[in-house]
């Protein structure tokens, strides 16, 4: 047996403007093991995978693969060296056959013509490796999610991948399909394939994992055999510590009456209806893992996506929200998770962006009052603390934090009563974050009802009066500020995934 680790990371660091994704991570993966990777949102799991597959390049540190220095230049490079990812979203071409997909990188050819005989023979053999009995001529669009995953795995295995990375492979599978997948993982392990397995589902990793590595805030925490840890131990390891940002929480501010009440809101394709309410002057935090239904819920509430039922009350009066237009008319606003594609118009100037939700205020008989617009925009720039030479500046040229302030300015101008923020500080550096927290607080003191969805637990603990925790489409916990506790929140967040 070869005891040398197949993959070794030494002091690997990766930073983005304002955020350190991975800091000084050293870890080793043994040949032929199923190595589990866990951590909260933003712990650095995805960044690690992207480094291993040549999508990101490390800023510092070294990686070794089979004892050799390893620095993949592209995913194709990583794949040729033998490291491959099976993604949550598949990279298969739906209108081509299974066989063509498996051999897409290198179709067997004869003088430039595809050798279909060989292609199908090879494909059959590849599919046999994963125990998938299907005609390789079948078009991929005919397959279900689990079957597509098998094709991806077959592709990886047949091309002699030595390390297979699986990112949340069971997220969309039924329990029967999960068992099939675990069977295949066992087979692969016996063939000597090393597997790096990323999952939120803390229960299932015990069925297949050998060792587990925990990441937290981009840092390495521990690597242990799974047999020596309980689920509770894992959660404890994942809990972050305070990163020392000051949160301007004002405990004295009085809360008013309930402004927004949501009853049995059912998101499209969701499993459970959710109910909650927000009061005047209150900041309600919504926590949970990515994909737990947080974003889906606020989008359905705002009418951005169709909801499948439920009642919404504003000041006790029921309202119908079928589109963002209805929502805005009733005084709701949504600051979307994806700022660049849904929040701002990048190639238009600050004034245009800030007045977009309420053009009636800057126009007369359908004609824009350009002087009024400029004045209003200047006032909003001041109020939000947006740093810019002028309101004529194109939004693309602003930093992420300032772009976010422009979106905030847009909703301030509309005078929205309920402000929903989805990941308000994502990709924003620490200084600008603090300014956004201050703005949130200012809004709360003005009597707005505020909902903040965030993956950053420290942030939610720092700024919220109350917190809801989502897990697998369901609200599994509700805590008041004095009961906030990282461990408790995390166990709620993982609740539906442990069971």
């Amino acid at each position: 047996m070869n005891d040398e680790p197949i993959l070794k990371l030494e002091h690997v660091t990766k930073a983005f403007p304002g955020v350190v994704a991975l800091h000084d991570v050293s870890m080793a993966i043994q040949r032929g093991e199923v190595h589990i990777l866990v951590g909260q949102n933003g712990a650095g799991k995805s960044s690690l995978v992207k480094l291993l597959t040549g999508i990101y390049f490390p800023d510092g540190g070294e990686m070794f693969f089979e004892g050799e220095p390893y620095a993949p230049k592209s995913t194709f490079d990583a794949f040729q060296k033998g490291i491959r990812v099976v993604h949550q979203e598949f990279n298969l071409l739906p209108y081509l056959s299974i066989a063509e997909n498996i051999f897409l990188e290198k179709l067997p050819a004869n003088h430039g013509f595809v050798d279909y005989g060989k292609l199908y023979r090879d494909a059959e053999e590849a599919l046999k490796l994963v125990g998938f009995n299907i005609d390789p001529r079948t078009r991929v669009e005919m397959l279900g999610v689990a079957q597509m995953q098998l094709v991806e795995i077959a592709k990886a295995v047949f091309h002699n991948s030595k390390v297979l990375i699986m990112d949340e492979p069971t997220a969309t599978l039924t329990s029967k399909e999960i068992q099939t997948l675990f069977g295949i993982i066992e087979t692969l392990k016996r063939r000597g394939v090393t597997i790096i397995y990323i999952s939120h589902r803390l229960q299932e990793i015990y069925e297949i994992g050998d060792r587990v590595t925990v990441l937290r805030n981009g840092e390495y925490v521990a690597t242990e055999p799974l047999s020596s840890l309980t689920v509770n131990d894992l959660v404890k390891l994942m809990v972050g510590r305070d990163i020392g940002v000051a949160y301007p929480f004002d405990a004295e501010a009085a809360l008013g009456e309930t402004v927004l009440k949501v009853e049995n809101l059912q998101v499209q394709g969701g499993k459970h209806p959710v109910s909650f309410s927000v009061r005047k002057g209150e900041i309600l935090g919504i926590s949970g893992l990515v994909g737990s239904g947080r974003t889906e819920t606020v989008r359905a509430l705002f009418g951005a996506d169709r909801s499948a039922g439920g009642q919404i009350y504003l000041h006790g009066r029921q309202v119908q929200i079928r589109s963002p237009k209805d929502a805005v008319r009733h005084g709701l606003s949504l600051l979307t998770e994806d700022r660049k594609s849904q929040g701002v118009i990048l190639d238009m100037n600050i004034a245009v962006n800030m007045t977009l939700a309420d053009l009636a205020k800057v126009s007369k008989n359908g004609f824009l009052q350009q002087q009024t617009e400029t004045n209003e925009a200047n006032r909003l720039v001041e109020e939000t603390g947006t740093k810019t030479p002028s309101v004529e500046q194109v939004v693309r040229n602003l930093s992420g934090g300032n772009q976010q302030k422009v979106v905030l300015g847009k909703w301030l101008f509309r005078d929205a009563e309920v402000l929903i923020f989805d990941e308000p500080t994502r990709g924003i550096d620490v200084g600008a974050r603090y300014e956004i927290y201050l703005l949130l607080w200012k809004l709360a003191r003005m009597g707005k009802a505020i909902v903040v969805v965030s993956s950053d637990l420290d942030e939610l603990i720092g700024i919220s009066h109350r917190m809801l925790i989502f897990s697998d489409g369901k609200i599994t916990g509700e805590l008041d500020r004095d009961a906030f506790d990282q461990e408790k929140i995390l166990s709620y967040a993982y609740e539906e995934y442990i069971r």
Binding site: P324, Q342, I345, L346, M348, A357, L368
Partner: protein, 326 residues
């Protein structure tokens, strides 16, 4: 420093296209003495009028990231309905002319409404919907007219069509120019125009700001239909006929003028002034090349080349604009 930057910005916007136009005029003036005459400029104005009118509407549609391929056929259909109305012997001349105008504008706006509604309601790219309308309108024009050309319009109508103001400016050019100015004002100074640019840039952001973006998109197609209806009347004024086979290829000229004028096919960027200059460039090229003695085939090749060249130039301009910002 500031001066040169302002100049560069000017070149980067409409100024660049204006400069190209001036260079073309200068080159033709030197190459052919018959080019730079008052009569010839009057000719050019007449030649570009119809394309200018259609391009005004096309600019709105393209700014939204759409396209309207049906304008030529709609124009033919509009002339047929208008021709039927204007030659109706039972109507007094004034009423006949008025109802012709209403019929032309009404039917093209209806076609625009169809284009806009179908592409918005079922999320079908307007390329496909208007391709269908191109055939439907042409078929309807042939059917209604029995494939026959309509002529013998009232004399007063024909007389207005050949009128020139200050013996230079053709009447139909004035109509086109007014339409262009209206198009410019709406685009630049109204809420509607603002929404056109905003939706063309990022429809989702506009929708999430609480707007019904579909209404604006449909309106743009209806407006495009309106300009086509006006263009149909202009065509009848100029040539004194209504025919089911006219207008073939008009959509391509209008798209060319819009794109040469700097409007981006993916939407959100462009201007009415640019489009007008684009239409002028096409007109000057066609006229100038004819005068220096190129035949039809050669002219077509050169014009085609210029269209491609203009777009290449435009992407280059865009790159330059980006580096300017930094």
């Amino acid at each position: 420093m500031i001066k040169s930057k302002k100049f560069i910005n000017f070149i980067l916007q409409e100024g660049g296209i204006g400069l190209v136009l001036l260079i073309l005029i200068a080159v033709f003036s030197i190459a052919a003495p018959r080019f730079a005459t008052v009569t010839n400029f009057s000719n050019i104005m007449q030649q570009i009028s119809i394309n200018t009118a259609i391009s005004v509407g096309m600019t709105y549609v393209i700014l939204l990231g759409g396209i309207d391929l049906s304008v030529g056929s709609s124009l033919a259909l509009a002339t047929i309905l208008a021709g039927k109305a204007i030659t109706n012997p039972n109507l007094p001349v004034g009423v006949a002319i008025a109802s012709a105008c209403l019929a032309a504008v009404g039917i093209s706006m209806l076609a625009g409404l169809f284009n806009g509604f179908v592409s918005v309601r079922w999320k079908i790219h307007s390329f496909i919907v208007t391709l269908g309308m191109l055939n439907m309108a042409r078929g309807a024009a042939l059917q209604i007219s029995g494939s026959r050309t309509i002529f013998a319009f009232p004399a007063v109508f024909n007389r207005f069509g050949t009128m020139t103001f200050f013996s230079v400016i053709p009447s139909i050019f004035i109509i086109a120019f007014v339409l262009m100015v209206i198009g410019h004002i709406i685009l630049r100074y109204t809420v509607f125009g603002r929404m056109i640019y905003a939706i063309g840039n990022n429809e989702e952001a506009v929708r999430l700001s609480g707007h019904n973006t579909g209404i604006y998109k449909i309106s743009a197609f209806v407006f495009c239909g309106f300009t086509v209806g006006v263009a149909a009347i202009m065509y009848m004024l100029r040539l004194n006929i209504a025919s089911p086979i006219l207008g073939v290829g008009f959509e391509l000229n209008a798209i060319a003028a819009t794109v040469i004028g700097g409007t981006s096919m993916s939407g959100g960027k462009g201007s009415m002034i640019g489009t007008f200059l684009g239409a002028c460039i096409i007109g000057v090229l066609n006229n100038g090349l004819l005068i220096i003695g190129l035949d039809d085939n050669a002219r077509q090749m050169v014009t085609g080349f210029i269209i491609v060249f203009a777009v290449v130039l435009d992407t280059y301009r865009e790159k330059l604009a980006k580096t300017q910002k930094e």
